[in-house]
């Protein structure tokens, strides 16, 4: 009897604590439901409606089934802009991951023993502190037809006439990629440094003792062991990259650059918002959501397959 009472009290205590736990997390979930989950579900809902403004007149909401989706696929623009987004993200991401790895390896190397690591980390992280739109505005001015960058090149005698960077396809794309690279390589470097520092030093020592050179150490020890971090960087960067908006929007003034070759999916979406076209913009959002989920899953699969094979024994 006494024993039973004891357990009851203990159980009551536990329930009590967990209730407080729920109270503490409740604000987040409430805010999340109101400001994230509800709009998310509404997006799905409205993507099946004709609902926009013509001047000041509101048209709809009229249920149209999959018409918004069909139109989107028929026009085909969406996939062009999805391609643009992916392309610009990749040409920014490749230098980002390479440079970040290089810097992370240099900063964590026992042999080099770099001084002032904190200082460099701060400096590298700096570009990320600037608002993306302000950064893009800066580039817009610096790389303007008569902007300071051209002025310097002319003064140095390298060119006779200003280059019109933003009037060419690759000029615009490269600038966007460059900005994304500058903004994110510091962040990635710090993540990779943390990952490399987390590796047991004895593994490196063992590899060295076995006569592995730096190249082999990197490919055989470092890379496999930080691969979860690399995966994390890749997936977050990809999700962020697919939602690229402010940099190209400001840099091209919302036009998507020459022949719309730098228009991203979100910029396309933004064009519908001018007339509050919830139907079409909802359809764009839903497709982007699905594609992002699929791509993230694919990347996940790709990275985890070898490990599963290795651990297949049990």
């Amino acid at each position: 009897m006494g024993e039973k009472k004891e357990t009851k009290r203990v159980r009551a205590k536990r329930v009590n604590y967990s209730r407080y736990g729920y109270y503490f997390i409740a604000p987040f979930f409430i805010v999340y439901c109101i400001f994230s989950l509800a709009p998310l579900l509404m997006t799905f809902y409205y993507s099946f409606f004709e609902y926009y403004r013509d001047g000041l007149n509101v048209i709809g909401p009229n249920f149209v089934g999959f018409e918004n989706y069909v139109n989107l696929f028929k026009k085909g623009d969406f996939f062009q802009y999805f391609g643009n987004t992916l392309l610009v993200w990749i040409i920014g991401f490749i230098p980002q991951i390479v440079v970040s790895f290089l810097l992370a390896l240099i900063f964590t190397s026992h042999r080099m023993k770099i001084r002032g690591k904190t200082f460099f980390k701060t400096v590298m992280y700096m570009p990320n502190l600037i608002m993306a739109s302000a950064f893009a505005m800066l580039f817009f001015l610096v790389f303007g037809d008569t902007g300071p960058f051209n002025q310097i090149l002319i003064d140095l005698g390298l060119i006779d006439e200003g280059i019109r960077y933003l009037s060419t396809v690759w000029g615009t794309r490269s600038l966007i990629a460059l900005m994304n690279f500058l903004m994110w390589f510091g962040n990635t470097t710090i993540l990779l440094m943390a990952g490399i520092n987390g590796i047991d030093p004895s593994l490196f020592e063992a590899a060295e003792m076995d006569g592995a050179n730096s190249w082999q150490v990197f490919w055989k020890v470092t890379l496999p062991l930080v691969s979860p971090i690399v995966l994390y960087v890749l997936v977050t960067s990809m999700i962020g990259g697919l939602q690229m908006f402010d940099v190209p929007e400001v840099l091209t003034r919302g036009t998507g650059g020459t022949n719309r070759t730098s228009m991203t999916v979100l910029m396309y979406l933004n064009r519908f918002l001018k007339t509050r076209n919830y139907g079409d913009s909802g359809a764009v959002s839903v497709i982007l959501f699905i594609l992002t989920a699929l791509l993230s899953l694919a990347v996940f699969r790709l990275f985890y397959q070898p490990e599963r094979k290795g651990g297949g024994g049990r």
Binding site: A26, G55, L56, D77, S167, R260, N277
Partner: protein
């Protein structure tokens, strides 16, 4: 879990309850001129300074606002459609708003005027606000046409008319054409063929005739033969194609500097280091934008000696056009109707006030009689334009403007065709591709309009 759900439900319902309380409690239907706050929506300082200087006039101790009425300015920049978005948000529920929030007056621009004019949210100036035809008779007809709704009601009124002219550099004219006299220069520029001949001369001397791609857009498109969107169909006017053809020619021949409107390089071309002969500009552009850009040092007084102040002159150019302009509308639901009427009367119909505005600010005001008086005044001249009486030219140009072919879609057409054609002028795409991009962009915004190719 159940408790958690209940708790969340409780919190949510508190939110909802509070929300309802805040919005629904206000008593609507305040009668006329009960309002103690005059709320004005606008996108820049221009009207505010006119209002403060010529209506409110605090400095002269001439406070004409009925005692106790505060003025509240709600200023939202036009960029990215922000201004229209703010209006669209507030106008439909104007009746329900409190005195402090309720829009009384708002300003609109020509390119999208019809959107508001044809809506139920603007008051009829004559039948509802109470200005008379007689009071409005001295306004230029086109300034009334723009803001006349499809059922014939006048829905706005303006203190300015914005005829356009060709502003050119006197020093360059002297060097290339041998004269800087506006009458003589006009003879060399009176049609597009002559205009192009002069462009070639400019190039030979190392100057550009125009700055860039969009400069001649309005002189062409203000002369279209019918509205470009009719019965739900968009058909580009021949004038648009003339503009494209001419601009392509100018670009290929090096007669322009390949800029876009409002860009850094475009503005620099109007300054001391500019190599551009002239710009198509309307009233406000000449007296505000061009004047500011011409100065070497913007902090010093604007006078001869500062940059190229005084080196500019104006002539009619090859085609008549207008550009821009601001109209005042009375918002449906205003609780200061008498005050609104008085402001409109004083600022847009009163001869003495409007003449004073022109004399003091160089702006061209919307009063035929007053403008005629200044135009005929031999003493009057603008020192910025080397002593020229530009009002005389504006008076001539203003009479020629016709607005009957404007449509509510003009703003989208203007913005999107300039964007799309830039790629063509830049030799990045073919004309067909550029047109395709334009149609695509147009339909993203007006999905219910068909394209007629």
């Amino acid at each position: 879990m159940k408790r958690l759900l209940l708790f969340m439900l409780a919190v949510v319902s508190v939110f909802v309850l509070f929300g309802c309380d805040g919005n629904g409690g206000e008593a609507s239907g305040l009668s006329e001129d009960k309002g103690k706050t005059l709320v004005i929506y606008c996108w820049n300082e221009e009207f505010k300074s006119r209002f403060n200087d010529y209506y409110f006039n605090e400095a002269n101790n001439n406070n004409m606002l009925p005692n106790g009425v505060k003025v509240k300015w709600v200023m939202t920049p036009s960029e990215g459609n922000a201004y229209q978005n703010s209006l669209d948000e507030v106008l439909p529920r104007n009746d329900e708003l409190g005195d402090d929030e309720k829009v009384d007056l708002f300003l609109i621009e020509a390119d999208y005027a019809l959107k508001y004019v044809n809506s139920e949210y603007t008051l009829d100036i004559i039948n509802e606000v109470g200005l008379t035809q007689k009071e409005l008779e001295n306004q230029y007809q086109y300034t009334k046409d723009i803001v006349t709704s499809s059922d014939g009601k006048l829905k706005g009124t303006s203190w300015q008319a914005t005829p356009g002219l060709f502003a050119y550099r006197r020093s360059i004219a002297k060097e290339v054409l041998g004269t800087d006299d506006p009458v003589e220069v006009q003879k060399r520029l009176s049609d597009w063929e002559k205009f192009e001949a002069v462009a070639e001369l400019m190039k030979e001397k190392g100057y550009y005739m125009l700055s860039g791609y969009d400069d001649a857009y309005r002189p062409f498109t203000n002369n279209i033969s019918q509205p470009m969107v009719k019965d739900g169909k968009l058909k580009l006017d021949d004038k648009i194609f003339e503009w494209i053809e001419q601009t392509k020619k100018f670009t290929e021949n090096g007669w322009n500097q390949r800029t876009t409107l409002w860009s850094e390089t475009w503005a620099q071309g109007q300054g001391p280091n500019g190599r551009v002969f002239g710009y198509f500009y309307s009233t406000w552009g000449i007296n505000f934008t061009l004047l500011e850009n011409s100065l070497e040092n913007p902090d010093e007084p604007a006078q001869v000696g500062n940059g190229i102040f005084g080196d500019w002159a104006v002539c009619e150019g090859p085609a008549s056009f207008y550009w821009g302009g601001t109209w005042i509308c009375a918002a449906k639901g205003t609780d200061n109707l008498n005050l609104v009427r008085d402001i409109m009367r004083k600022l847009t119909c009163d001869r003495a006030t409007m003449k004073l505005i022109t004399l003091e600010t160089l702006d061209f005001t919307n009063h035929k009689q007053a403008m005629k008086e200044i135009a005929e005044d031999p003493e009057y001249g603008s020192s910025f334009l080397g002593g020229q009486n530009h009002i005389a030219l504006f008076v001539k140009a203003a009479d020629k403007i016709s607005m009957k072919n404007a449509s509510f879609y003009d703003q989208t057409i203007t913005e999107e065709i300039q964007t799309a054609m830039k790629d063509y002028f830049d030799e990045q795409v073919t004309l067909e591709q550029a047109l395709e991009n334009f149609y695509k962009a147009f339909q993203e915004i007006h999905k219910n309009i068909e394209i007629e190719r």
